[in-house]
């Protein structure tokens, strides 16, 4: 028994060694490409590092944070990001995604498949391509597709990307891009709901709206949480489509935090301040994710 025990221990040790060895590359990858840049980003946010003299920088404490919180551009950027987030992520992607998934689930399988495929194509398209497509569609100069149709029908062309309209357009394009993921997620979750529950609601006389909001939606807590966390992080990190469409303009009308960060780093060359903005974005993501987990309590 003693020998057998030793052998079992050795086997366990070998197994542990195997798992540790097998995980080394993954941890190395995670460490080099995620943890290290993250730590570096926080570190740089406390320095005056600049692209103009990248080898010489020094620790300046919370100076960058002070500058950021006293900046009217940052204040405006936060407001724009919040509006962009609420309308594009929460309402446009999550709520609309759940509704579309519910509707698709109720239609014939072939329609559902086709609609899901079409929506997913937008999600799978590289964002630069999406941005260029949207620009070609909405552009005023040169005349984009929509304005071409409007003027062809005798109407006046619309400045879709003007100071007053650009924010709505980036919200629309971001919904178009991100909707597919939420639809896919909610669709599979709705399919997993026990059909007898749905049947029971029909027997009890619940209409489609009350069935969705009172029965199905509460049963999707886990999916909502997953979707919320993911689209929050993606939306806070959204950059490509906005940059291609508007560059954050006109006159900073679509200057979301990531665009502000990019311009600070690569137009003004202030890498220290850009990292400070990056840290604020990361903190916002973490805090919001924790709030979601706290609010949407999931019973085991």
């Amino acid at each position: 028994m003693f020998k057998a025990g030793t052998l079992v221990q050795r086997k366990e040790r070998n197994n542990s060694l195997f798992y540790i060895m097998a995980l080394i590359p993954a941890f190395a990858y995670l460490g080099i490409f995620f943890i290290y840049p993250l730590v570096l980003s926080v570190y740089y946010s406390f320095t005056n590092i600049s692209l103009l003299n990248i080898d010489h920088y020094r620790y300046i404490g919370f100076y960058n944070y002070g500058r950021l919180f006293s900046s009217s551009v940052f204040e405006q950027s936060v407001i724009i990001t919040v509006v962009f987030f609420i309308f594009s992520a929460i309402l446009g992607q999550m709520v609309l995604g759940a509704i579309v998934a519910y509707v698709i689930n109720g239609t014939k399988k072939i329609f559902g498949t086709v609609i899901t495929l079409v929506i997913l194509m937008a999600w799978a398209t590289p964002q630069v391509v999406s941005g260029i497509t949207w620009y070609s569609t909405l552009s005023y100069f040169p005349v984009g597709l929509v304005n071409y149709i409007i003027t062809g029908l005798g109407g006046k062309p619309i400045h879709f990307l003007s100071y007053h309209n650009a924010l709505y357009m980036i919200i629309l394009s971001n919904i178009w891009i991100g909707l597919g993921f939420s639809v896919l997620l909610f669709s599979s979750a709705i399919k997993n709901i026990n059909p007898s529950v749905i049947k029971a609601t029909i027997v009890d006389g619940a209409g489609p709206f009350s069935r969705f909001f009172r029965v199905i939606f509460p049963m999707l807590k886990q999916t909502i949480l997953t979707d919320l966390i993911l689209i929050t992080l993606w939306t806070l990190g959204a950059f490509t489509v906005v940059y291609v469409l508007t560059h954050g303009g006109p006159a900073d009308a679509t200057n979301i935090l990531t665009i502000y960060q990019y311009h600070t780093a690569f137009s003004v060359f202030d890498v220290g301040l850009a990292n400070t903005i990056g840290v604020m974005i990361i903190l916002a993501g973490i805090v919001m994710s924790l709030v979601y987990i706290r609010v949407i309590k999931i019973e085991d």
Binding site: T6, N14, G249, P250, S267
Partner: protein, 519 residues
């Protein structure tokens, strides 16, 4: 039990061996890649009797073979006289844009073992590279005659605080293009040369009023807003600003201007053009050069303040080629604010050769750079199909060289015009913090033409932005700036008096109106 124990431990042992093997393979692969990459870097170590000079230049709009052929042909005599020297072109061949070229160049120059001895750079970046001590000062090698052989607007960009850091090899400038067919249709006499900013606005208004039948017609274009980026600052705003006698930077005190009469007047011009007169539109003025060029070509745009590169890039060949160019598109100088001396202004940019600061035998490398940058070679490098096709030589004697006419074979008179423009050249302040100021300037333009802010509101925000970025001691506000003439206009030589052809019947009326409205 023992047997069973042996059997059960065998797979675990195998797993451990496989895992160790995987880790070893990964380490070996990593080390192998590192050494292979290290070996690929151009080595500067050579036998003591021979020397290698490495040259870096952007290949994204050219090719390695074009550069190699140019360098070898341009310096064949020099190489024959220096048989112990080998010239090696080091690319970087995998940079597909200007920004990627600088990323690669930054990496290459971060270590003496990979840094090229000679590098081509946009003159705009000279101050930054000099500030980082990447490039070598050349004052000890360049005499005053050689320095004077370059256009001042070119060599000035590579001279930082009295120290020269490079040899300009290509310049580009800004000017006005106009659609002659539209001018004729509107009844405006050509050739047209505006003699003041008011003249530009007046002509644009006239086009607007007389060409109402053209759908989507835009009378004039001048780049603006953050979306247009440096085109808004360089090609648009500064082309006018230096025509006021003021600039962005006070070279005497070493401060940026947070406000001055020139900034005021230029922003007022933008407000007049985009908001008051509505002769320009933000939608077109934030598009790339190619769209503006196309609009001008298609008769949807009357006047465009743009660069000489437009011809080489867009109209000389390809799908947008304009045959008999000078019959359809007119060229004009950008006038100063009131047409005061020096009458015209143009923004000059371009490329120049610089030497790596770590070069041991600087005298030898400088003589190589001189050979590569003589007048004939400057013309050759700018010829169609060559490495820097579409630009102009930076030497003042280039236009008398017989080769000069070959620069634009389809319209040789264009080159003469472009070269004449250089006489009125200004350039961006060669100060490393310029990009920050340029960004703030674009924001100020946006405030006026997009948000509809007043000029003073926009300049107040501009001033605050500069103070936030540099501190108040680095920013100078010229107190109580007034919009309009800061010099007694009647005592100044005006372009309209020396250029009768350019004076249109509406000029005096509108000019007075413009000046009056500003007071």
């Amino acid at each position: 039990m023992e047997s069973s124990g042996n059997n059960s431990s065998a797979p675990g042992g195998k797993k451990a061996i496989i895992a160790v093997a995987v880790v070893i393979v990964l380490i070996v692969a990593g080390l192998g890649t590192y050494f292979v990459l290290t070996q690929n870097h151009p080595s500067t170590s050579k036998p003591s009797s021979s020397v290698t000079i490495t040259v870096a230049a952007p290949v994204y709009s050219s090719s390695t073979s074009i550069w190699e052929n140019f360098i070898n042909n341009a310096t064949s005599s020099w190489q024959a006289a220096h048989p112990n020297v080998t010239i090696k072109f080091v690319g970087p061949s995998d940079a597909s844009s200007e920004s990627q070229y600088y990323d690669k160049l930054d990496l290459m120059t971060s270590s003496p073992s990979t840094a090229p001895d000679v590098m081509l750079e946009d003159m705009f970046y000279t101050a930054t590279y000099a500030h980082e001590k990447v490039i070598a000062p050349l004052n000890s090698y360049m005499n005053s005659t050689e320095k004077a052989s370059f256009f001042k607007s070119a060599i000035g960009q590579m001279e930082i605080n009295g120290t020269v850091y490079g040899l300009p090899t290509q310049v580009s400038d800004t000017l006005i293009y106009y659609n002659m067919s539209l001018f004729k249709e509107a009844g405006i006499k050509t050739p047209w040369q505006p003699t003041s900013w008011a003249d530009i606005l007046q002509t644009a208004m006239y086009l607007k009023d007389n060409l109402t039948g053209i759908s989507g017609f835009v009378p004039m274009n001048i780049y603006t807003d953050t979306r247009a980026g440096e085109a808004a600052s360089f090609t648009g705003f500064e082309g006018l600003l230096y025509g006021t006698g003021w600039g962005l930077y006070n070279f005497t005190s070493g401060q940026w201007y947070g406000n001055n009469p020139g900034l005021n007047a230029t922003l007022q011009f933008y407000k007049d053009a985009f908001i008051t007169d509505k002769v320009a539109t933000v939608d077109l003025s934030t598009t790339p050069y190619i769209t503006v060029g196309q609009y001008l070509q298609e008769g949807k745009l009357g006047i465009a303040i743009d660069g000489n590169w437009m011809y080489g890039y867009q109209w000389a060949s390809g799908s947008h080629k304009i045959y008999n160019f000078t019959k359809y598109i007119g060229l004009a100088y950008i006038p100063t604010e009131f047409g005061q001396a020096p009458y015209y202004n143009s923004m000059v940019g371009g490329w120049g050769w610089a030497m790596y600061s770590g070069v041991t035998d600087k005298s030898l490398v400088y003589s190589f750079m001189q050979a590569m940058d003589n007048t004939t070679n400057q013309i050759n490098i700018n010829l169609p199909g060559q490495a820097l096709a579409g630009g102009l030589p930076a030497k003042t004697d280039a236009s008398s060289n017989p080769l000069f006419q070959k620069l634009m074979p389809g319209a040789p008179q264009l080159d003469t015009f472009y070269a004449n423009v250089l006489k009125y050249g200004s350039y961006r302040p060669p100060v490393s913090t310029y990009p920050t100021v340029s960004t703030a300037l674009q924001a100020a333009m946006s405030d006026v033409v997009v948000k509809g802010d007043t000029v003073s509101q926009a300049l107040s925000a501009y001033d605050s932005a500069l103070i936030t970025d540099f501190g108040s001691s680095m920013v100078q506000v010229v107190s109580h700036p007034t919009i309009g003439p800061y010099i007694a206009i009647q005592n100044v030589h005006l372009a309209q008096n020396i250029n009768n052809v350019a004076t249109s019947p509406y000029h005096i009326f509108y000019s007075n109106l413009y000046i009056t409205s500003k007071n």
